[in-house]
Amino acid sequence: MTRATFLERIRKEVARAPVAAGVSTAPRPPHPEAAAEAVRRQMAERWREALDSFVREFERVGGIFHRVADLAGVRPKILEIARGHEATALVAWDPASLGLDLASLASDGLAVTTATSDPDGDARRRHREDSARAQIGVTGADFVLAETGTLILLSGRGRSRVTSLLPDTHVAVFDRSRLVESLAQVGVLLEALHVDPARSMSGAMINFITGPSRTADIELTLTRGVHGPKTVHAIFVEAP
């Protein structure tokens, strides 16, 4: 059916439907970017409480939380996690998106692939093969939602959407600036991101990740790692 005919039919039905009064859609921030700025200012005061509740919720959904003093502490922590999982290969977001370069982990016997930010067909194929082989995927987190223990990741240039999906173990690295308290705040941040998406996002996907992949489809027995990661680690970097 054509768009015009389809919509005409709906328009006609909408026009003759009884209208319940006093209902409205959710209020939207009139100036989303200013509202997002206000959220960030609030969280600069309240990040400690948010972190506490993130840790509680994240562990409740099966996540493993780590804390390091500064960026220099991230690399050894990742190495420790990799050894714990007997990993031989790691894939990561590019250094610009991650805030640190993990290439040097190669000297510790890990095969390391970092995302390229200007991919062609060949680069895509290689990256997929490497991501499918890697046991560890390292990403940042754009927002970290305390209320539910959720890591929110924007895909884009240098930030592959499968780094947090194909490897058995996902490691997300973040600092206090990423913490938010509530889904309502996430709503504000999402509104702000979409004011001018071409500027604020280089990718087409946003993932909310709340713990490892899970299913209860066989006799309601909870099982982890059905398609996505079996284990999710979060590394909090204390230094701002």
Binding site: V14, T25, R128, S155, E191, S213, D217, I218, T223
Partner: protein, 468 residues
């Protein structure tokens, strides 16, 4: 699956389900667990009630401008480089997907759980066209291997034992696997991982679509929704028109109550927001994105008696609390959507005649309305539906005869009194332990599953006369 075939009348399908001892046990365990988890999720969430009211208001407000939001959604998807298809019927939706498969040389399509694609019988159509559809939600994968249909909106394979699942997954693995959920899940992971990497097309439904941004939102726990929207070169999303919501501010209201209602989680493991095909700098993601907007009978109800059923989020909470669903499970309903809301959705999509029996498969206890995250008044619509199938002569003749007689008795005082006296005189042989348990003729269908109180030795009417 002869017992669930639509050739078999509903009472027979229900009776078969009642005789299935494993099904009975599985239903009790599953629905009780879901009900407990939901209750716990909301008990520690005081703002939940207000959010449910708000979510309901958003659905209503969206319906009041549905045409505008759909246009806005379509414009935004197209601006992002996606394609929008308008399907008035399930057949049009199927044809659109089949044409895409033909034009793009698609051999295999991986699917993430989608009730909309179940509704349009997509898998059968793909198979006939030589395209292999692979269901990737573990529960859907199991029932696809078994050539069955989902029995629950969010737990499609609750009717299968782990022994049955082991047989199905072992056959694919070509080696015997133990009846252990963990081992079976691990085997399915390996089997399906290969499919994700090889498939040409990923097919999904949509839990929501945000008009303001052109975003399709998928809520999953396993990660298969992310796989099918990241790896194949084409992504097709099929959504009923009622899934559109205005903005991201609305989305977070629904996210706060959806998983809590469905599984008792605060959020599902994955909430995936997709805006069109992959962007130039991205390493992964489809080259093409297609959104199919499906009417399939929905628009008729915008101004119809089932309008509120268009609010449904497909969380499954009303199934778990329904005393009828808890006894007979999803297959006995016979259509894609089971449970109390399923009866209304079936009437919406297949017409009132298809629910002449199902309209009565409810005790009208109201538990469904109590747990519905958007407070859909399911009992009210079921009563209206019963009235409608009665009035239109769709209901079985015997049912109309019984209720017609009852109506005449209740409308006439002498007739009612005569019936009381006659009933008292005749009921003797049918009363057991003070109840009428086995009535003859047309009434036997009533007493097969229910008792009636006998006519009292002296009725209120008769005693009232003495009191005066």
């Amino acid at each position: 699956m002869s017992e669930t075939s639509l050739q078999t009348p509903f009472p027979k399908r229900a009776a078969a389900a009642l005789d299935d001892r494993f099904l009975q046990q599985a239903l009790t365990i599953a629905t009780t667990k879901f009900v407990d988890m939901r209750r716990e999720a909301f008990s520690g969430f005081p703002q939940g009630e207000a959010l449910r009211d708000q979510a309901r208001a958003i659905k209503e407000a969206t319906l009041q401008k549905l045409d505008l939001y759909l246009e806005q959604l379509a414009d935004n998807v197209e601006r992002l480089g996606g394609h929008v298809h308008w399907a008035a019927t399930g057949e049009e939706a199927r044809e659109t997907i089949l044409a895409l498969c033909r034009d793009r040389g698609v051999r295999m399509a991986v699917k993430s759980k989608s009730m909309a694609t179940e509704e349009i019988d997509l898998n059968e159509a793909l198979e006939r066209a030589g395209v292999t559809p692979v269901e990737t939600d573990l529960g859907e994968y199991i029932i696809q291997l078994a050539h069955e249909k989902p029995s629950h909106i969010i737990a499609p394979a609750i009717h299968k034992t782990k022994g049955q699942v082991a047989e199905l997954i072992s056959a694919v693995a070509r080696r015997p696997l133990p009846a252990d959920p963990e081992a079976l899940t691990a085997a399915a992971r390996v089997q399906l991982r290969q499919k994700f990497l090889e498939a040409d097309m990923g097919i999904t439904g949509a839990n929501f679509a945000v008009a303001d941004t052109g975003t399709v939102v998928l809520v999953t726990n396993e990660g298969n929704g992310r796989m099918v929207t990241s790896l194949p070169r084409i992504h097709v999303a099929v959504m009923g028109i009622e899934k559109v919501i205005p903005s991201m501010s609305d989305l977070v209201v629904f996210l706060a109550i959806l998983a809590r209602s469905a599984t008792g989680q605060k959020l599902s493991s994955y909430t995936t927001l997709v805006r069109g095909p992959r962007q130039p700098g991205e390493l992964e993601g489809p080259e093409e994105f297609h959104l199919i907007l499906l009417d399939g009978g929905r628009s008729r109800q915008i101004a119809g008696a089932l309008r509120e059923a268009l609010y449904c989020l497909r969380c499954g909470a009303c199934l778990n609390v329904c005393p009828v669903y808890r006894q007979i499970g999803g297959h006995a309903y016979g259509y894609t959507y089971p449970g109390p809301i399923g009866i209304l959705l079936t009437a919406m999509l297949k017409g009132d005649a298809s629910v002449k029996d199902l309209a009565h498969a409810s005790s009208l206890c109201g538990a469904c309305k109590d747990v519905c995250p958007v407070r859909i008044d399911i009992p009210r619509m079921l009563i209206e539906l019963r009235e409608h199938v009665g009035r239109e002569g769709i209901a079985p003749r015997s049912e109309r005869a019984v209720f017609g007689t009852l109506r005449r008795l209740l409308l006439s005082s002498p007739a009612f009194r005569f019936a009381t006296v006659a009933g008292r005189a005749l009921q003797g042989p049918f009363a057991r332990q003070g109840r009428l348990q086995k009535l003859p003729f047309l009434l036997s269908r009533w007493t097969r599953f229910r008792d009636l109180p006998p006519v009292a030795a002296r009725t209120f009417h008769e005693r009232w006369k003495d009191l005066k």
